[in-house]
């Protein structure tokens, strides 16, 4: 039986009819049309479907749509600042941190949560924070470099 649920998506209130067996990833992509979360492995192993529920990164392929009733969701689209890329996204661009781009939304969501909890992560901490977000193109080095680059830029800014 379909049920009406309401939640915030990138700050905007949405009300959607869902059936209990509907997944969050499918609802976001097919019903609402938010395309940044991707369906990779569809079993929680690859991280391409990462979105935030109440500020925490989750695998949207392992969440039922009906579970987010009353929650605040953030997807990559919600990270834009005044319609422009945010500093983390720019750092990804500057470092050529993606080739095919399929993993990038999930990587950026995971890096966003990491930086929120730890504004000065070491290389190892970044690796731990991004473990479980798979990339088949870059070999990860430019992705980790992008995050490190942003961290050192922000450190410089604070000193000035």
């Amino acid at each position: 039986m379909e049920k009406s649920i309401s939640f915030l998506l990138n700050g905007e209130k949405r009300t959607v009819e869902v059936s209990p067996s509907e997944g969050l990833l499918g609802m976001l992509r097919d019903k609402i049309g938010v395309k940044s979360p991707k369906c990779g492995c569809d079993r929680g192993d690859c991280g391409t479907c990462s979105v935030m529920i109440d500020g925490r990164v989750v695998r949207s392929c392992l969440v039922l749509a009906i579970e987010v009733d009353g929650a605040a969701l953030t997807t990559l689209e919600g990270l834009l600042e005044n319609g422009d890329l945010n500093p983390l996204q720019k750092a990804f661009l500057n470092k050529n941190a993606f080739q095919c781009g399929f993993c990038a939304p999930g990587m950026i969501m995971s890096a966003t949560e990491l930086l929120k909890r730890n504004s000065q992560p070491t290389r190892d901490e970044i690796k731990e924070g991004l473990a479980g977000n798979l990339c088949r193109c870059t070999g990860y080095t430019p992705i980790i470099d992008a995050v490190l680059d942003l961290v050192s830029e922000q450190k410089k800014d604070r000193k000035q």
């Binding site: 067996s21 079993r43 929680g44 925490r56 990164v57 695998r59 392992l62 473990a131 479980g132």
Partner: protein
Amino acid sequence: MSITNDFEYVKPKSLAETLKILVKNKNAMVLAGGTDLVGSLKERTVAPDLVIDIKGLKELKKIEKKGGAIHIGALVTFSELIESKLVGKRMPVLVEISKKVASVGIRNRATFIGNICSAVPCLDSGPVLVAMGGFVHVKSRLRTRKIPAEKWFIHARKTARKPGELVIGASIPLPREKNGACYIKLGRYQGEDLAQASVFVHLSLKNKIPLYQIAFGSVAPVPRRAHRIEKALNGRKLNHELVTEARNLVASVVTPITDIRATREYRLLMCEVMLERALLAAQERLNGRGPAYGVNLI
């Protein structure tokens, strides 16, 4: 893959209401973090008529110190264990264990209790619970039960939970004595992999007499407490000979199989290596030295 099975969904607001629904619906399944359940629904290994989301039961979201034990409520996620000041101070090895579970995105959602309810042989939450003499707390409409961890795990994916019962939490006795512990998990790579083998060691000094608590994971259908090794070690100070003695007993305690992740022989050998490292790290930590909790030792 989408979920083909149709089911109803309910999110009760109280424990009493949850238990009432559970007893009335024989083919219901409980949803907490969902990282296992939603996967199983997709793979069609389960087909409930009703899914009961217990995330509305705030009383199950607590980590508390009660009666000399740490109580972990059914809704406590691995990320919350990692961030808990109480856990970090009183049982830092739980942080070490939680950090070995999958990835941040899974740990933000997956619960410690969900892990012991799924009860797959490679679970990370089992060895500590079994070795420390922990308990699983369940509740049904008519009674409350406190099940010793070693009796909880019956077989791979099979627990002592009976129909109509809800697991409300687990408790792990807090050691009063000086202690050190260590959890080592062997995976093919860091992040997101299931354990090929794991070992948990807790060493405490009671009136200066060493007491060892040891368990293995992923090398038997259930987390296996190493009673035989503990008995051989208890009361004796750790040294090179004792480590060798412990290593030689490993094959009599664990019964690994060969599967897609590793062979039986490899698992057996690695259990010995990991036991040695865990014993030494636990001893160093007991003495206030050694690697910080959470550092990879393999």
